[in-house]
Symmetry: C2
Subunit: 181 residues, 2 copies
């Protein structure tokens, strides 16, 4: 149901942006829970202009590089606000190829399984370190403790969720490895 549409509207509500900026936003903490490639973003932006949910002004960078700065229209803001308070069903299947393999663990021998789990554990630990570093930097930039009205509250919540998701995964991997002995 066109979630990318709302992702774009939400980003533009924060600030005027180009398509490139939107793609860049998906490379940060937000990208842990939603992302899209530029090849999906640009056509969607065109569609949203036709639907009059966003508008753009052309800006010249340097000598002649044209970039399109998009912003929300009143209609776009209204649709964003409608979506944001809508209660959607909890999505069941969060696809995870590693867990699919885990379900078929009976087809592995013990060594193979341990190798696979150790490997996954390692990757997850490295990912966790990166996320924790980003959180440290975010917290360092704040003067007061983060609260509801901080401009970075959304970013903070998403980051802490990503970090705890990894921690939970890591704990489960460790306990599963212990069970395999």
């Amino acid at each position: 149901m066109r979630v990318l549409k709302f992702a774009i509207l939400g980003l533009l509500e924060q600030d005027k942006m180009t398509g490139y900026d939107i793609a860049a936003a998906f490379k940060g903490a937000l990208g842990q829970f939603w992302s899209a490639k530029h090849s999906q973003i640009y056509p969607e932006l065109k569609k949203l202009v036709v639907e009059e949910l966003i508008a753009f002004e052309t800006v010249i960078q340097g000598e002649k590089l044209e970039k399109k700065l998009y912003s929300l229209t009143a209609k776009g803001t209204a649709e964003l606000m409608d979506w944001i308070q809508r209660v959607e069903a909890v999505n069941v299947s969060n696809k995870d190829e590693f867990m699919l393999k885990t379900y078929f663990i009976a087809a592995m021998d013990k060594q193979e399984a341990q190798q696979l789990f150790s490997n996954q554990l390692n990757s997850r630990q490295r990912k966790l370190e990166k996320l924790e570093q980003i959180l440290t930097e975010l917290e360092a930039e704040q003067k007061a403790p983060i609260h509801f009205s901080s401009p970075e509250f959304g970013h903070y919540l998403v980051l802490t969720r990503a970090i705890e998701r990894e921690k939970g995964y890591i704990q489960w991997l460790e306990r599963s490895l212990a069970l395999m002995e």
Copy 2:
């Protein structure tokens, strides 16, 4: 990269099945991490037959209901085993519409945000209860404690992961709500 293909091969490695059975398997614990609708399963089964990774025998149920019992070929088993020990990159973006909204929390007023979070907390708690019930039933069926060679080990691991995922989500929701006061 055709993950559904391997999901089907993995299920058929456990037992001969119909397309309907495969769809049913996705409604259980496995469905927490991978699933597909029957409209995707049936065409994929046909494709896998053409590729000679699976084969089927037609079985008559009752008077005249024909069903197709699929099973792995040697080639299919080989491809499954190759995939299962392959190390894939940790997937970055596990899409979650609620977390997308969370990222845009600055566009909500406090009451709206609290409402949304309470609601999500409730849904997650009900989901957790259901998963824990399934685990209780699974454990009741076991004579000995579950270990690597138990036929239900894969099922058990996936269930415990799903349960802890929900617990982690719930804790984060509670702590986030506390932060909003």
